[in-house]
């Protein structure tokens, strides 16, 4: 019976990144995937003829360039096309655009407020400073502050030194920034509702928090860390849909000799004498390996795939306490023509970027209040993109694919499970919001897929439909992610590792958890990591 060097559970982007690095280190790696397709939440699916849907994740913003280079993703077909703009529609028939050009950005703000127009530079500087402070942490294993091991202590000193290097005023700002709400933070720079809403959205996307919740200023960074110094937070489409990311990873993996099995759902991780030995699939087949690495979220991994008796009680308690309430849904729409938004000039670059309808922080926060009460937002926040304006490969000529990320959408509806009728009503809430700004919108719809946390959990395997595999609050970041004491990709079971977004640094199509986990595994195997680029310099 074949014994693999390593078996990775789940062919999501982090699983594949991890598998690629291990395979390239000379291990014989198998990836098992429950679905008949690969990609996890980074997929392009053909659900209606002629259209490709990025039906889960939809934007390529955070994927680490170091990983792209190491795994030769451009060679395997990955191409990222930047947004050309973005807009928030206002209820008075206007819009606020985000332009890439610095001066256009200022002049656009000046339409609403002369003061805010000139406040942007200081805002961008302060956010950039914060990004520069924490960006290097993404590609490092979080040190354990309760440990006396030299490695943890030296990492802590590194952080301390970075902090001490900030200067007193900036230290004070940093301390405040980490615990502020994005709403309070923006109030210190801007006066105009729509301008604040425009920035606040980055503080809430993917979280179970409202813009007035402390801690959301940090979340902003999480979405801005795509690049520093250059254009802060450059976002873009993957040509061919988000599946192109995982397809390139899979091709890279196979090209280096790796094996992927689809349609192979894992029933259990085999553990003997406290050590992982392999897997049992749903059909009873056993697969053996020296290492098992789970790309599934921490709850799914340890509450479903590993027997309780194999785990210490305190670890189980902490896993159970890990918060991963889903907060978002997704509506994917095939359109027979480009929708019109009368407020937006036809030649605006904003069509080729992200569009939003929530023009005040208060509306966003009220949407969150609905979610807290177990309802989807009656006036939801939408992050709407039409990738086919820049990528003709995703729809037949002249037709378009529209992706709407929707927040907030609860894992359960007022405490009970979602029904199909709920799902359809949720979809209708979204469509009617768009139709308010786009006459004739409904008539253009050819096909539509509505995804609530229920669908995300059932198909992608994300517990409670949480797209980040765990909420991004302080208690679940860095050395606390996913649980204290096990924040370095290892688990209480010898040979069983985690590499998904439940681990540091968290969610988004970033690849860092998969890479960092590979580095820890190779360290345990005393193997070299020369094939892994160090994190990009921040100077």
């Amino acid at each position: 019976m074949k014994k693999w060097d390593a078996i990775v559970i789940g062919a999501g982007h982090n699983g594949l990144v991890n598998a690629c690095y291990l395979q390239r280190a000379g291990l014989d790696v198998l990836v098992v995937e429950k679905n008949d397709w690969i990609g996890g939440a980074a997929v392009s699916r053909s659900l209606t003829p002629g259209f490709l849907y990025s039906n889960c994740s939809y934007v390529c913003s955070l994927f680490r360039p170091e990983i792209m280079r190491d795994l030769e993703l451009p060679r395997f077909g990955l191409q990222v096309i930047s947004y050309e703009g973005g807009a928030v529609f206002t209820r008075d028939g206007d819009y606020l655009a985000n332009y890439r050009d610095h001066h256009a950005h200022r002049r656009e703000f000046a339409r609403f407020s002369a003061r805010d127009a000139e406040a942007y530079d200081r805002y961008a500087r302060d956010v950039t400073r914060q990004c520069r402070f924490i960006q290097p942490l993404l590609m490092r294993t979080a040190p354990d502050p309760t440990s006396f091991r030299p490695r943890d202590i030296s990492e802590l000193l590194y952080l301390g030194k970075k902090f001490a290097g900030l200067g007193a005023a900036e230290m004070a700002d940093t301390l405040r920034f980490w615990t502020m709400s994005i709403s309070d933070f923006l109030d210190e720079y801007f006066e105009t509702d729509v301008i604040k809403a425009n920035f606040a959205l980055s503080g809430i996307i993917g979280t179970a928090l409202g813009p007035m919740s402390p801690g959301t200023a940090y979340v902003l960074l999480h979405h801005y860390m795509g690049e520093v110094d250059g254009s802060v937070g450059a976002w873009g489409y993957a040509r061919g849909g988000m599946g192109a990311v995982t397809k390139a990873l899979a091709d890279s993996f196979r090209a280096s000799g790796g094996t992927i099995r689809t349609g192979a759902e894992v029933e259990q991780v085999l553990v003997r004498s406290g050590k992982a030995r392999g897997l049992v699939l749903a059909d009873g087949e056993e697969i053996y390996g020296n290492l098992v690495i789970s790309n599934a979220d921490v709850k799914r991994t340890f509450l479903k795939l590993v027997e309780e008796k194999e785990l210490p009680e305190i670890f189980l308690r902490r896993v159970k306490n890990f918060k991963m309430r889903g907060s978002s849904g997704k509506v994917n729409i095939a359109l027979d023509s480009l929708p019109e938004f009368p407020a937006l000039p036809k030649d605006s670059p904003c069509y080729r970027g992200d569009m939003h309808f929530t023009d005040s922080v208060e509306r966003m926060e009220r949407g969150y209040d609905d979610w807290k009460a177990g309802r989807w937002s009656a006036d939801p926040f939408l992050d709407m993109v039409i990738p086919t304006t820049l990528d003709p490969t995703m729809a037949p000529p002249g037709k378009h694919f529209m992706s709407c990320f929707v927040q907030y959408c609860p894992p359960k509806v007022e405490g009970r499970d979602w029904t199909d009728a709920d799902r359809d009503a949720f979809g209708e809430t979204v469509i009617s919001q768009i139709a308010d700004y786009s006459p004739g919108f409904r008539d253009r719809i050819v096909h539509m897929e509505v995804r609530t946390p229920r669908e995300l959990e059932a198909e992608v395997g994300l517990t409670e439909g949480n797209i980040f595999q765990g909420e991004l609050t302080f208690d679940q970041l860095l050395f606390n992610r996913p649980v204290p004491g096990y924040a370095q990709y290892r688990s209480p079971v010898d040979g069983l590792y985690m590499c998904g977004s439940s681990t540091h640094p968290g969610g988004g199509v970033m690849g860092a958890p998969g890479r960092n986990a590979a580095a820890e595994i190779l360290r345990d195997l005393s193997r070299g990591t020369k094939h892994m680029s160090p994190a990009h310099d921040v100077i």
Partner: protein, 406 residues
């Protein structure tokens, strides 16, 4: 959100023109032969128009017209105008009489320079502040507790620099009667086309010269008036490359070229106090409180300022732009921020920022390492550098009163 107005809707179309023209653009476009543009604060500005060498000589021997409309301008008005500006800027505004201009700078709480610029006292309670960067939130927040209004008027006000030995003659010829009575840093208003133009004897060249400000709608007729009057006095339009040489000869610094302004510095060690960029003379500790006063006084008392900006004369004739400065050819002690071969002084000159004590108490045995790219190879030169006083050239005609008629 402000109420939806037709102005807000009309302004939507700005995205179609990423680099705006200034109010003088039709005239500059007509003269533009090199198509050598650069971005000045979102405006399309000429780096050169026809010949950057000759444009420079127009400054020194004729009359050069340079469009300064993209300068950021704020109108500051109100009974507390003087107190407000005294709190914001370094110099004593009480000493700035109506009808006068001074060069000043302003700092944040930590005493780091936010920008430098010129302050025009148009009337006892009316000022114009001209600068490189944008500061509206800072100025508005500084106005809390003062009876003063601050208005951004960059687009509304057109500006022209007329510099060079024949500039006064051009103005007189153009009919600005009495302009020759303006002493250096004086300003006065003159009638033009039913409106008014403000003319000050100021400039950025170290030469005899004037700056003219007028409402944007009067810009073209003002240009034409000067152009016509200057025909026989050698008037030429120039771009920034020529001006940059002249300003360097005059030893003048440029924000975000020779120092990083405090609101833009991302790295905490890049900011500078006035004393560190040669602006210490502006700091008036006697006038009462102003932004950064405590920090500057404390840094002076502790001797904790770490940098100094100096003028260098470098042996040879190869410009040392962005060269590293060494002590005893070994220890790295600073960086050249701007350098040229000065056609006027016939010296190889530079501005450099050095780490104290170099440039402060240790001033000898300084060297610059020049990497001169020549046909795809760096010619590496280690040249001796000497700290020299600025300006690098001193022209009596700049300050002569009345100005000589050339």
């Amino acid at each position: 959100m402000p109420k939806l107005s037709s102005a807000r809707l009309t302004a939507q179309s700005h995205f179609r023109t990423l680099r705006l023209g200034t109010p003088f653009q039709p005239r500059i476009d007509a003269l533009m032969k090199t198509n050598d543009w650069y971005d000045w604060g979102g405006y399309r500005a000429p780096a050169s128009l026809w010949d950057e060498e000759l444009e420079y000589f127009a400054i020194r021997s004729q009359a050069a017209l340079f469009d300064i409309s993209p300068m950021v301008k704020y109108r500051i008005e109100g009974p507390d105008g003087e107190d407000f500006l005294n709190r914001v800027t370094l110099r004593d505004v009480a000493k700035l009489k109506s009808g006068r201009v001074h060069y000043t700078a302003w700092c944040d709480d930590e005493g780091y320079v936010l920008d430098d610029g010129t302050l025009f006292r148009l009337a006892p309670d009316r000022f114009r502040l001209c600068c490189q960067e944008r500061h509206l939130p800072w100025l508005l927040d500084s106005a809390i507790g003062f009876d003063v209004s601050v208005l951004e008027e960059t687009e509304a006000v057109a500006g022209l620099a007329l510099q060079g030995p024949t500039s006064v003659a051009v103005l007189r010829e153009a009919g600005f009667a009495g302009v020759e009575r303006l002493k250096v840093f004086d300003l006065a208003e003159f009638p033009h086309e039913g409106g008014r133009v403000t003319i000050s004897r100021t400039g950025f060249t170290g030469d005899l010269g004037y700056e003219l400000f007028a409402p944007a709608e009067l810009a073209l007729s003002l240009w034409d008036r000067l152009w016509k009057a200057g025909e026989l006095r050698g008037i030429r339009a120039i771009g920034y490359t020529a001006l940059n040489r002249a300003r360097l000869e005059a030893g003048l610094i440029v924000a975000n070229a020779d120092f990083v302004t405090a609101e833009h510095a991302i790295r905490p060690d890049r900011v500078r106090m006035p004393d560190e960029i040669g602006l210490g003379f502006m700091v008036d500790l006697e006038k009462g409180h102003f932004n950064g006063r405590r920090a500057i006084a404390q840094a002076r008392a502790k001797g904790s300022m770490r940098h100094v900006l100096v003028g260098l004369e470098i042996e040879g004739n190869i410009p040392a732009e962005h060269a590293i400065v060494y002590h005893k050819q070994k220890k790295e002690v600073g960086l050249v921020s701007a350098a040229i071969w000065s056609p006027m002084a016939k010296r190889n000159i530079a501005l450099a920022s050095l780490s104290r004590p170099y440039g402060d108490t240790i001033t000898d045995d300084l060297w610059v390492e020049i990497y001169a790219m020549r046909e795809l190879r760096y010619e590496r030169l280690m040249k001796r550098a000497r700290i020299v006083p600025r300006p690098f050239i001193k022209l009596d005609r700049r300050t002569a009163s009345p100005p000589a008629d050339f």
